[in-house]
Structures are given as structure tokens and as C-alpha cells.
């Protein structure tokens, strides 16, 4: 059962176990499906009824992502540290309680079984796998998996899952860091790494992660 797993996982990672009241769970679902009537459209319009996102448009998979990570992103999207024209009005229209509710709702959702880039370019994926697992140490870029977890499944609230995330979305984030449109990473850890990646390298690593099925973040 996703919610119990999530609560257990949050405690397991030393994070506060949030009381998952049925009211809160209901609120998240309601906003995801109907919006909050105050400027936040239904999340599923773009992120899909199953939370799987939309690769072509660059809308990320939300299903199975870490709740605390998503809460922080919503907060930052409403502010200045993560600039996104589409998400800003949505995130700004959510109250703190509503942010938590939708984050919990999506965190508790099973991610899709099929990887977005399961049938992608094998050569690019192989190149990306090398970058993801070995890094680019000739220029001092650590392996993505050093922080994002051995399978890219994410580590707690600070290092989001990359496995099973849309390649487009991932490369957009790298670009945003390079362009200073995204600056909400803890301690600038991603900013510094993103600056060192070429477009080709970012695309390859993203293609690799997108070729892996998502793991629900625990």
C-alpha cells in the first residue's frame, strides 16, 4: 500500500512522519483532479491522471517522487529560486497545506512500469549509462549515481529520482541550472555539476535514466 510505504520510508530516512489523515489524502486527490479553484489547475491536466507526466512537453513524472522534495519544489516555483512560467501561477495559488497534500498524493502513487525511453537510441543510452555510473572524471564530474542513488532511484528529499523520468525534463533542468533559471539546489551542488556538462553529455545521461523504469522513492 503506497501510503504506508511512504510513511515508513519517511521515518526510515529520519524525516518527520507526517500524519496521513484521510482528509489530507482526499484534498490532494481533489486538487490533482479538479484544481483548487483559486488559480491552481488540475495537476493531472499536464502531469497525467497516472502522474506519469508528458515527455514531449517536458512535464515531469510525479508519481512515486519523494513528497518532501516535491513540497520544496512547489515552494521554490512560487518564488524566485526556480523559474518556470507555467508552474509559477500554479504553485503560487497553492497554500502550504495544499502543497503538502498534492505532494503526498503523488508520492503515494505507483509510478508507471514502463520506462519513458525504453526504446530509445541504444548507443546514446550506453554513452549515458557510462556518464551516469562512472561520471566524467577527466573533468571532475562525479557519477550521477553518487548522489542520486545506485540505480538513479533517488535518495531521500534532497536527491530526486532520475530513473524513469522524462529525458526532456532532465535536460531542461540542466539547461535551467546553466542559465541560472534554477538555483534552488541545496548548497549549489547541482548548479556546479550542471555547469560542467555539455549538451551532448546531458542528453545522453538523461536518455539513460529515462530508459530505466521508475522506482518509487523510498
Amino acid at each position: 500500500m503506497p501510503q504506508a510505504t511512504l510513511a515508513k520510508a519517511l521515518v526510515g530516512f529520519g524525516l518527520v512522519a507526517l500524519p496521513m489523515t484521510s482528509a489530507a489524502a482526499g484534498l490532494g486527490e481533489k486538487i490533482a483532479q479538479q484544481g483548487n479553484g483559486k488559480g491552481a489547475a488540475a495537476c493531472q491536466t499536464c502531469h497525467g491522471a497516472d502522474g506519469s507526466g508528458n515527455g514531449a512537453s517536458g512535464y515531469p513524472r510525479l508519481a512515486g517522487m519523494n513528497a518532501d522534495y516535491m513540497v520544496k519544489q512547489l515552494k521554490d516555483l512560487a518564488g524566485d529560486s526556480r523559474q518556470n512560467a507555467i508552474m509559477k501561477p500554479m504553485a503560487s495559488a497553492l497554500t502550504a497545506e495544499e502543497r503538502q497534500a498534492v505532494a503526498d498524493y503523488y508520492a503515494g502513487m505507483e509510478p508507471p512500469k514502463k520506462a519513458p525511453n525504453a526504446e530509445g537510441d541504444a548507443k546514446q543510452i550506453a554513452a549515458g549509462k557510462k556518464i551516469a555510473q562512472d561520471g566524467l572524471w577527466r573533468k571532475g564530474v562525479p557519477a550521477c549515481t553518487s548522489c542520486h542513488g545506485p540505480g538513479g532511484q533517488g535518495v531521500g528529499a534532497s536527491f530526486p529520482g532520475l530513473a524513469g523520468q522524462h529525458a526532456n525534463y532532465i535536460t531542461n533542468q540542466i539547461s535551467d541550472w546553466q542559465a541560472d533559471k534554477r538555483a534552488n539546489d541545496p548548497n549549489q551542488l547541482m548548479d556546479v555539476v550542471a555547469e560542467r556538462l555539455t549538451e551532448e553529455e546531458a542528453a545522453a545521461a538523461a536518455a539513460y535514466f529515462a530508459s530505466l523504469p521508475a522506482a518509487s522513492q523510498d
Binding site: D134, W137, L189
Partner: protein
């Protein structure tokens, strides 16, 4: 909390063996133990990298498809997944690549290709000339806490795992000069800052720069299947009290150009922390218990007198506790 602020102590050496020889008349004529020790110079700090750049280690794709190549691959795997490949000799939660970044290939991160050519080498630590085989066993003994492992000791001399790791090291060093301290060797020394080092200043830096990965309690992060995500820095999964990394100057030198991971860049000699911050956070990390020094002499004081006459906090009182109890195994 009690501050520990010190200035550099003079490094002393063990003269016991030399004096014993002198006492039984076996010392070479007119050469006293102290003279021998003074004559034994430590390797010079590696020079700055010049136009030529660092040693160009080969690519993994170029490992040949023969017995030698197979040994290189095994050695590389042992280096990066030590707990999986050589777990019976690992008494904590570390992999070699935790302190030798980039699979042991990153300059200024104690790269293997720079160490290979300067061995066999005298080491003050054990006061004799070490082969690389013995040097790696030393890493197992201290950094990997072999005493706490399933086998209870490091790999035996000339065992397969040591051959494989040496194959990897040699392979990476091909083309590098023999007998020279080359650019990128070891960690870049960070001179003791004016304000010495402070555990309490270091605690703040740790919270801001390190805890996100290494945990508030320094225990790192490990997956459910035991796979390491972020290594422990203190406590039972960390390097023991005999490891070089427990020395405040050594850890400061590692941290300066290697940490936080990704933010500092050893390849570009780019630091994220100031010298002062590196020393302070090193002191904080090394002000916690870790597995016991395998050279334990029956008491903290005896162990400290014999083996810890350098810049470290072993047998010092910090936060009301005298360090050196050991932890876990």
C-alpha cells in the same frame, strides 16, 4: 564543548628499533638511529601541474582482452566495490574509491597512477620500506578496518586481490615516470591556518556542507541491500583510528579539493571551502569515535604515545569525552 585549538606539533619518530640495534652493537659504525631517521626524507609535495597537464591515464575501453586485462578489471572492481568484491576483508562500510575519487584516477585525490611509481618506499608509519603489496594491506588494515572483518585481517601478501589491484594501479600508471613525485600525487597539502583548528567551528560547517550526504550523525547512507550511497565518516562504519584520514591535516587536505563532492573539483584544483573551513570541519569529523586503532597498546595513552604523535584528536578530550574508545568493532 571543549575547544581543541592547537599549533603544529613536531612530528616524532619511533627510535626504539634503532636504539635496540645500537645497544646490542649491531648499528652500522658511526650511524645512529636518529641519523638514519633524518636521512630518510619523506617524498616532496607533488609539484603544481604545468602546461603538460596531469598524467593521462588510459581509458577503460583500452583494457586488453587477455589475462592481464582481466586482472586489471578485477582490480578496478575491487577498488570501487570493495565491500562487494573483497568484503571478507572489510570491517566497516568503506570502499577504496571513497578516499580516492574517480575510481582512484582523479589528480589531487591520491590517484593510483601517481603512487605506483614511488613504491617500494620507506614509510614513517611503520618505519621500513614497503612494497605496494604491503601498502595496500595497510589500507585494508586501517581505512577498511580489516580487524573487524569476517577474516579479521587484511588480504595475505601476494594474494589474488592484491595482485589484481596492483595490475589496475600499474595499468593506470603506464607512461608515468618512475621514482618521481608527479603533479596530482596525493592530496594537496593545506597549511595549518592562523586560527588553528576548532571542533565547534567545524560543526557548523559540517551541518551546512556535509550533513546532507553524510548524515547528521556521520553514519552516511546505505541502501536496504547494504549498498553504499554515501560513506560513513565516524562510528562503526567509518575508517578506524589508525587510518591516515583521522589526522586533521590529512583529512583537511582531502576535503579541501575533493569535498563537497562535485562542488570541489580535484581535477581543476578547485576548492569550495577555505583552508580554515577545511581544517575545522576535518577536526569536527575526526572528533568522533570510530573503530579502534589495530595497534592498540592496552591504553589510550600508550597507543597515543606510540602511534599518535601527530595532528589528531586521539586521546584528547572533546565534548567531555576522551577519544580513543573505539566504536563497533
Amino acid at each position: 564543548m571543549i575547544e581543541s585549538i592547537r599549533k603544529m606539533r613536531n612530528q616524532t619518530r619511533r627510535v626504539g628499533a634503532g636504539l635496540l640495534l645500537a645497544a646490542v652493537g649491531l648499528a652500522p659504525a658511526a650511524v645512529l638511529a636518529e641519523d638514519n631517521l633524518k636521512a630518510q626524507k619523506e617524498l616532496k609535495q607533488a609539484p603544481d601541474v604545468g602546461e603538460a597537464g596531469y598524467h593521462k591515464y588510459p581509458s577503460v575501453e583500452d583494457i586488453p582482452d587477455d589475462q592481464f586485462g582481466a586482472a586489471v578489471r578485477r582490480g578496478m572492481k575491487a577498488f570501487n566495490q570493495t565491500r562487494q568484491v573483497a568484503g571478507e576483508y572489510v570491517g566497516n562500510g568503506q570502499n577504496c574509491s571513497n578516499c580516492h575519487l574517480g575510481k582512484g584516477m582523479a589528480p589531487n585525490s591520491a590517484p593510483l597512477w601517481a603512487a605506483w611509481g614511488v613504491y617500494p618506499k620507506y614509510r614513517g608509519k611503520n618505519d621500513h620500506v614497503n612494497t605496494m603489496d604491503e601498502r595496500i594491506r595497510g589500507c585494508f588494515t586501517y581505512s577498511m578496518n580489516a580487524k573487524g572483518s569476517e577474516k579479521g585481517h587484511p588480504p595475505k601478501p601476494d594474494s589474488q586481490i592484491l595482485k589484481d589491484m596492483q595490475a589496475y594501479m600499474f595499468w593506470s600508471a603506464q607512461g608515468a615516470p618512475i621514482g618521481e613525485s608527479i603533479p596530482g600525487r596525493g592530496y594537496r597539502e593545506v597549511p595549518m591556518p592562523d586560527k588553528g583548528y576548532s571542533v565547534s567551528r567545524g560543526e557548523k560547517i559540517y551541518e551546512e556542507q556535509c550533513a546532507i550526504c553524510h548524515g547528521d550523525d556521520g553514519s552516511g547512507k546505505y541502501a536496504e541491500d547494504g549498498k553504499q550511497i554515501f560513506p560513513a565518516l565516524w562510528g562503526e562504519k567509518a575508517y578506524n583510528w589508525g587510518a591516515g584520514m583521522h589526522r586533521v591535516n590529512t583529512a583537511a587536505a582531502f576535503i579541501k579539493y575533493n569535498m563537497p563532492l562535485g562542488k570541489a573539483n580535484p581535477v581543476e584544483k578547485h576548492a569550495a571551502l577555505s583552508d580554515q573551513e577545511a581544517w575545522d570541519v576535518s577536526a569536527f569529523i575526526n572528533s568522533h569515535e570510530r573503530p579502534q586503532d589495530p595497534r592498540w597498546e592496552g591504553s589510550k595513552k600508550a597507543t597515543a604515545d606510540n602511534w599518535h604523535t601527530h595532528e589528531c584528536l586521539y586521546n584528547s578530550e572533546v565534548r567531555g569525552h576522551v577519544l580513543g574508545e573505539g566504536s563497533g568493532n
